[in-house]
Structures are given as C-alpha cells and as structure tokens.
Symmetry: C2
Subunit: 312 residues, 2 copies
C-alpha cells in the first residue's frame, strides 16, 4: 500500500448531482439547507448547481435562486457546472460562486451524442469555445472531465487510447490559448469501472503525463465505487468527487437502479480509518447524510450515515 | 495485484443470515423458494438454517421444516449452523444437509458473553465439546470461525494477538482429539474491518500458520465490505462468505442501520470483471437478489441486482 496518499481532497458533488437526478421537486430552501450544512463539515469545495437547460434538467431550473440564497462560509468554495458558453455566462453573474473554468468531453462518442448531442469534433469545439472564454475572462482553467472514461452503457468498452486521445486534445487546446494544464477528472459516468480498469486508465495517463493531477469521479451503480476509490488511492490518486449519502446520477446515462456517486461520508470514513487525512468532520458528515435523505424524501444508499462511526 | 487468486469460492450465507435477522415472519415456502433458486446459480455451498434456540432467534423456529422441504441439487451442499451439542444433534437428523463440523469462538470476550453468554473459557469448552462430538460421529471438522476478529461494538479494538490466541487454542483442541486443522473463518461480525485491519490480521495469521486455509466473513454495515474483500483477495484469500442481496446481520451485535453481509452478486460481479473465477451464473444471481427482496418484502442493499450486468 506504499502509494496511499497522506491526504486526499474530497469535492462534494451531492447537491449538483442529486438535484439534477432526483425525480421529485425539491424546494430551493431545502437545497440551501443541505448545502449550508455541508459547508460546516470541512468540505472546501461544494458543487451546488448546474447552469443547464431547465427543459432538459428541470431540477436545476432554480439554479440562480439557489445561488442567491447561499451564505458565504470561510474557506468554502461554492462551485457550479456548465457545459457551454450560455451556462458559463449565467454562472459568471450568479452571486457567491467561485468561478473555476471546466470542460467536459466524452471518451465515448455515443455517450457524447446522448448527453450533449455533440460528436467528437463538436465536443472538442465546445471545450475550445469555453477555454477561449476562460482566457478572455481571466478565469482559471481548473478542470477537464473525461466522461465515460471507463466504459459506456451505449458503446460498451471504451479503449484506454480514447481516454488518452481526449486528454491530449484538451491539453493541446489549452496550450493553444495559453492556459496551464488543468486537473484531469476521470469520470466513471456509467459505473463501468473496476479496479482493473482504474489501474489501466490511471496507469496509462500517468505513463504519458507523469505530472498531470488526476481526480476520480465514481458511481456506485454496481457496488464498485469504494473498491475503485481504494484502487485509485493505492495508485496515489488524491482527489475524488463524492456525493453526500450517495446522491446523484447522470440523467442521460440509461442507468438501472440507484446510480449515485460514491458516498462522501463512506469514503471519508474509509480514509479516516486508513490513516488518510480528509480534513472532514465525520459526525457532521453523517448528519448531512441523514439530512440529504430528509430533503429528497427517501432512503439514500450510503451506509455509514446509519451504520455509523465506531464508538464503544 | 500479484496475489489475486485465480479462483475464489463463495459460500452463500443469505438464508441463514437473513432469516435470523429479518424482523417479519417469512413463510417456510418462501425460504425454500429462495434456497432452491440459489441452488441453481453455481453456488456449491448454501447455509440454509441455524439450529438455535427459537426463543432467542424466532426466525429459525422452522429450521427442521426448511430442511424437510429441501430438494437435493447435484453438486450443491446445503449446510446449517449450530453453536452447541443440542443444535448439532438436531442438524444430524435433519434431511438433505451436508454435515460439516464447525465451531465459533469470539476474539472479543464481551461479544462472546452477549452472543452466547460464554466467557473465554466457556467459549473454548463449548468448541471442545463440539469437536469431541465430531470425532465421535466421524464428522469432518471443516471450519472454525473467529468472531469479532476485526473489532467489537462492545469491547472496541480487538488486538490481533487475541485472534492469534483463539486460533491457537482451537488448533490445539483439534489436535488433541485427532482432528486436522479446519478452515479458519475470520468474521467481521460487527463491521469493524478496514483494509488496514484485514491486512494486519490476515498477515499475522499467515506469518504464524502459512498453511492454514483462511476465509473471510464480512459485513457491509459501514460500507467497507467490498473494499475489505478486495484487500483480502489481494492478500490471496480465496474463500468468502457472502449473502444474496446483502441479507443478514447478527441479532446480538448492536448494529445501527443495515447490517447485512457482503452481497453475493456484487462480489461475484467484482470477481468476474477482475478475472477471478467464481463458477457462478451472474444473471441467475441477480434474479436471486431480486427474489430475496420479494421474499423479505423490502429493498435490500446489494447494488448489482438493479445496477446490473454490463450489456450493450
């Protein structure tokens, strides 16, 4: 286990992932209640909303209202997701957000078409357009997400070479407009990852770009999220997205069953008991996990919020 | 990953674990429906019932009726659990069972008192009495379970030395009556295991007894079962207990939340996608997972039964 990192950073995706995926309407005030509770757990980065088309993702129709309701917390960055210039410009004028530039491209062309109706070239062109905007607005280019990096419900296996190709294309585009390489988030959008696939993809990316910072975005649809995260940590990956209580899922991924992200508090507990620092308050996270269930009105898949801390 | 076994054996504990732990009464016919479905998945060993005091474990009051209803399946051994001579003698006369001798001792004395009302010496004396019966009845001594091998909700940390001490005591007793060393099942009865604890305990046992066959019995109460199983497999452990759909839990463990075993179909899926043979039919297992939910009348924690096989 020699490569286990001393510390990892968990980026909270629960509000963004969960409120896009849940079927029932969730009151803006309830979203804010969960977000502010999360801001008291030691999380440094909380993804709050997506600026996307409310006709496609009705749960995000109140994105501006959520931002208006945020209360700043010292040391906590509230973030947002957007996938095109229009979304970025909405985010730019929303209050209380930390605006870090990000792009998402799909390693599976078929999924790219389903998710954003973009083929490979259109996918890159959209990323390039966003990067140009980041350069123009002097917004740091923080993160590039490679979606479907471990497999795809529509295409099937995604070759490691396709992931490498997408990263290379993003890095070339970034260099072209004078932007430094961002964190590369390898997203298991449709829960195809296994330890073996994690090892293959992370290993290939590391071989080609030893200095790139990697992050993993994992879903637990098939029960593999924790074991995949562990494999990532064994390989030295020190950045993870996670969602409180295991909220979330991509609305366009054709998932069966619960499709949530790796559960923040379960991952934090694994780290705490493995000597890996997260800076998180586990008791406060467990309470947030239970609050998330109250807010969405049904049980959520995370285990530790009930199974609990070890206390004698 | 060099020690990953080429093949593991999964022993199904779902009926025994689940029917002891579920609150609602489950009809004998429904138990049998699930057991026979499991017998069609490639599982070679299915624990069906416990011969225990029905006043303490009401869900097992129909143990004899379940056995009478079993239909033999080629290549499948139906097993049972007992914790004392009375239970063993009930099992001996029940039809359709494969009678393998087993004993259970607790690495935590406090848990031993709660579970069986036995202190350390009484715990060993009960094991010795069973071994004498196995020798007398020419029943193979197949398995010794070390309960609470990774920690205890009552005692807290369980020192590795306590696990070693219990194994040494069992092996000495077995040798004393001419029985060969059994498989040692390290049971995470109260879900304290983490990869680090798995590594510490398995490593210490291996150091002392390189040739002992080890098995892991893991609970997912805190979301760690899969990562613990993976760590076990990385260390070369090739025997695992598991429960269909993640059924189960010890009635005397003071668990919060769902306390089920590692989920059979999730573990089998991890193995299938990691190149580790299980001999199991994944589609049939997923169907059994859904049947288990139907039989107990509520959702069960396993993920793959809904999240599904990868099919494009």
């Amino acid at each position: 286990m020699s490569q286990l990192p001393a510390r990892i950073e968990i980026r909270e995706e629960g509000p963004r992932e969960g409120f896009q995926f849940e079927r029932g309407p969730i009151a803006t005030a309830d979203k804010l209640r969960l977000i502010q509770a999360l801001a008291g757990t030691g999380l440094k980065r909380i993804q709050t909303v997506s600026f996307v088309d409310p006709r496609r993702v009705p749960g995000m129709a109140d994105a501006e209202m959520v931002c208006q309701g945020l209360r700043d917390v010292d040391g906590v960055a509230f973030g947002a997701l957007w996938l095109n210039a229009k979304g970025f410009l909405r985010a730019l004028v929303a209050p209380h957000l930390t605006i870090d530039g990000s792009v998402s491209v799909s390693a599976s062309e078929v999924f790219g078409k389903r998710n954003q109706n973009r083929d490979r070239e259109e996918d890159l062109a959209a990323a390039a357009a966003l990067m140009a905007l980041y350069a123009e607005h002097r917004v740091p280019f923080a993160r590039a997400t490679i979606m479907a990096a471990f497999g795809c419900n529509f295409q099937g296996e995604v070759p490691v070479a396709a992931v490498i190709d997408r990263i290379a294309a993003v890095l070339a585009l970034a260099g072209g407009v004078g932007l430094a390489p961002p964190v590369i988030s390898l997203a298991d959008t449709m829960a195809w990852a296994t330890p073996r696939r994690i090892s293959a993809v992370v290993g290939a990316v590391r071989d080609k770009w030893p200095d790139l910072e990697l992050s993993l975005h994992l879903h637990d649809t098939r029960g593999m999220a924790m074991v995949n995260a562990w494999e990532g940590m064994r390989l030295g990956v020190a950045r993870f997205d996670a969602a409180i209580a295991g909220l979330g899922g991509c609305p366009f991924g054709k998932h069966a069953g619960a499709a949530g992200n790796i559960c923040t508090e379960d991952l934090a507990l694994l780290c705490a008991e493995s000597g890996i620092e997260t800076g998180l308050d586990l008791e406060a996270l467990m309470a947030c996990g239970r609050l998330a269930e109250e807010v969405v009105g049904h049980p959520l898949p995370g285990r530790a919020k009930q199974g609990g801390l070890l206390a004698v």
